[in-house]
Symmetry: D4
Subunit: 161 residues, 8 copies
């Protein structure tokens, strides 16, 4: 899944082919040295560095260490669908986004108004998120939790094909 | 959201405090030089490098360039919940994971058996995924699409707190 | 879809065959000159004009320019089902009908109490309708949005067959 | 509600202010003479005619007689949500669009895959549509009918504001 | 609840005030002698008899002994909603109507395609209806049973007010 | 469907074979003279009369004129499922039972807490019941209306087989 | 929750007060010696033993060691609701009852046709039950899993109050 | 189904093979004398007694008389799913657990927040639980009752295999 910048759509400067090639390299290995990327793309290291830093500072790409929750001791990740009072959606989204356990949050059209992913250590931790953390947020009409039984795919190599 | 290794749980070697500190640094900035991490944590660069490379090779952390779909021209991301024939779940999950548009896929307990995220350029692209790509996968009983209206949070800094 | 008059049913004067033939002509091409319709139906232009104007003034037919939202820059039309407090349905329907984005609104029996179509420029616009506009309307219990992925048919040639 | 052209999005020529002003006039009264529109907009009748005819031929605006179903003797309009087999959606949409009673049909994301409006004379007519007409279309998994109890709004004056 | 004739609507001869007064008397007490009704309505017994017999023979009113299922030893009445394959609705309705336990059956628009009431002696009897009787009827997609916990109202005195 | 007495179960005196035979005769034709029933069952008319009157006075059988709503001008009957606040169920049931349009009302276990049948003249009448009548009843959480498209069966001859 | 005998209802011999007192003692502590129960109830030990053994042999009470799944290493218990083809319910119930992980299974009226509890070691185990075990059972239309987050109450002291 | 201790997970002392063998014996027959268990497992009676008593006192096993509700006169058991206000879940669970009719209660993830089993004498008793008992508990958003039509399996012999 992909980090998204908060810039309004339409105002983004277009990406050229070199930008896209650099993004592609970083999607495969975020620690690859710029010199090595430069050799592969046949452009000077300085150009790669300048472009990459601009892409990063503009929020188009973000190089991060992505960790495996199970290896970190978080055995019970779950997706939670929420229905909320329309007028409080913005405020509720803000409050949910502040919770440490929430790794992902989107506003959706359909059965749910919001979908989030929480990463919890076990069933009791998941229950505490639902009852203690969500309880203090006013305007949540209902929640429906889908416990994640098995992780199948997470891809960072899309978008530049 | 976090990449997850496919190792069976329970067999993972425990992480010590240094591992966790290195992970924390990479979660904040995946391109941070090991020398700089070493100075902060007061350990030699070689130790940081050795630990980081082991964490990466064991699939506990993955350093990747994470991109903003809107900046890349993908205006219509969506979550799709699927109900499938129980005996075909493994095979269906495999086939869905192979689709380029699918950035995320988990098996869930609850209203849906599978939840995936697809990143599409527009409504027509999303519709083609639903009708052309999913149509060739046998055993899908129903799909329900939740179009993502606004991205709120994606965090990579959890798990090491 | 068809505009409907607000006259109570049962009090409408019956339409004769000439009325129906004129309606049929206007359904196919709303700008067709009355003289041309008269020649086709073998009645004087004055009769066609008189009949057509009565049908229009009585609200049985309405000749309008119907536009393509995509061509006008409205990329995200959606249907929204609403459940509301029974005693507030009339007032809620009135307030929703006042919104510019709402092109269609009916009271329904079944899963939803009201169904409307909104025509929005993009996801953010759709979200603003749901959160800002609907938020100020008291008595809405839930909304469920069905984003329109593809337009298939809109017919104005029914009703006179 | 608005007729939509079947042109792929993105390839449409942009509309200028005169186009939009002419559309606005036709949305209010589709029979308004071009000479009168010309006087209001302070452009020659010939220019209005040429522009209007191009807008019509390109499918951006369609001037039609829109009729009131109740006045025409159609007392039981209804919205029908359908869930279908993904691989058959295109074919099913095509077959439903061919039915005379169907005045409107869109592909949707969410609880239903397709939503259509049917205009029927009475309950028996509506039932025949559901059982006789839909029965011969292969791949429909479920239908859910929302009988329209009261018409509230249908607007053709949007889109040019 | 009311028995309904199978005559097509629209062809029914209108009821006059005397018809309605006689119906009203029979709704209150089906065994009331025609002479007594005649005295109350101030018309000869022969007229009442003739009118009543015509109303009965035309299926507008039916005088029946309505029994209390609990007193008859039927402790578990239930309502069952069914979803069926559209093309088989007529045949399925026919087969369900033939079951002795089914006291009431209507075709509905909405969440269910058919709703029936069954009157059963106990839970095992209800289960046999669902599994044995319904099992032999082809085309039922799903059933959902609502056990009746308490009877509140059944009125035969409506319709003539 | 059957009228039910409000006597608590368990305290009812058992019915003997003669009671059941008399009930059976009245279920077929509620106006059949007791003398005729007596001849068929080979018991004196006085015995039939005494037994029948006791069955009626004890609320086990009720002889009523059952009318066809369509013939009476009620074109739009519907079933309505309601969810209510648990503590207000008794009071709500009482208030709904008082409405003239409600011909049938039961408390149910399952998706709905209450199911009622309303007999309305047309869509506007049905809508007035939902918005005006139900609006004044406090504690209704949701309603879902299933319009009756076709009547299939109503039986009064069960229960004595 | 209580074990239930498979005897048809209605044929059970009535329990007297002594039976009920003995059941009450065993519900509190299943290992309580009969002599001690006899002293408390003021009846000879032999009578208690005879009565208790008859209650056990007739399946009215069953004295068992009930274990805590968490202590036994079963971290992920879940409830599963199933919808099945009506004609296959008996056979499906039989096959599900044979599964070791299934500790409880009932046929239900309502949203689900069957509800079972499964006791699993972890998410992978639960997933194997759903995909491998259930996959070989023909006629299951859908399953919906409710993961148990926290156990609150299980009582064996009811029924004799 | 199994009683669960309220000890936090992770702090439980591990069970050895002798513990598990003793549990297995008690699961089959809770009244089996320790001497007999000792002979079978080839350990002294005193060891069996000491181990069994420790398992019981630590809440890992509980020996109880489990009764058949039908034999005890409870003809209408039911499962009830509840949705509640997140912040009140703990308090609501506590209040429901105090009700005599509730034999089982768990917090669940998914469509319902809580699932309980109630054992009732008949439909009226079940209705009183829903309306009288639940009515006084603040924060219940909805309940959905699944009447148990037939008991299929309840196992106490799992967990030690």
């Amino acid at each position: 899944m992909a980090m998204r910048s908060l810039q309004p759509p339409g105002r983004r400067p277009a990406l050229d082919d070199l930008d896209k090639s650099i993004i592609k390299c970083l999607q495969l290995d975020g620690r690859r040295p710029y010199a090595q990327i430069g050799r592969e793309l046949k452009v000077p290291e300085a150009t790669v560095r300048q472009r990459a830093e601009r892409l990063i500072s503009r929020g188009i790409v973000q190089v991060v260490g992505v960790t495996d929750p199970l290896a970190m001791g978080f055995q019970q990740p779950a997706l939670i669908g929420l229905c909320v009072e329309p007028g409080k959606l913005d405020r509720i989204a803000e409050q949910i986004a502040e919770l440490d356990e929430v790794t992902y949050l989107v506003v959706t059209a359909g059965r749910f108004d919001l979908m989030c992913e929480v990463v919890c250590e076990d069933n009791e931790h998941l229950l505490r998120v639902l009852t203690d953390r969500f309880a203090s947020i006013e305007g949540i009409r209902s929640t429906e939790t889908l416990v994640e039984l098995r992780f199948v795919k997470e891809s960072y190599q899309w978008g530049a094909r």
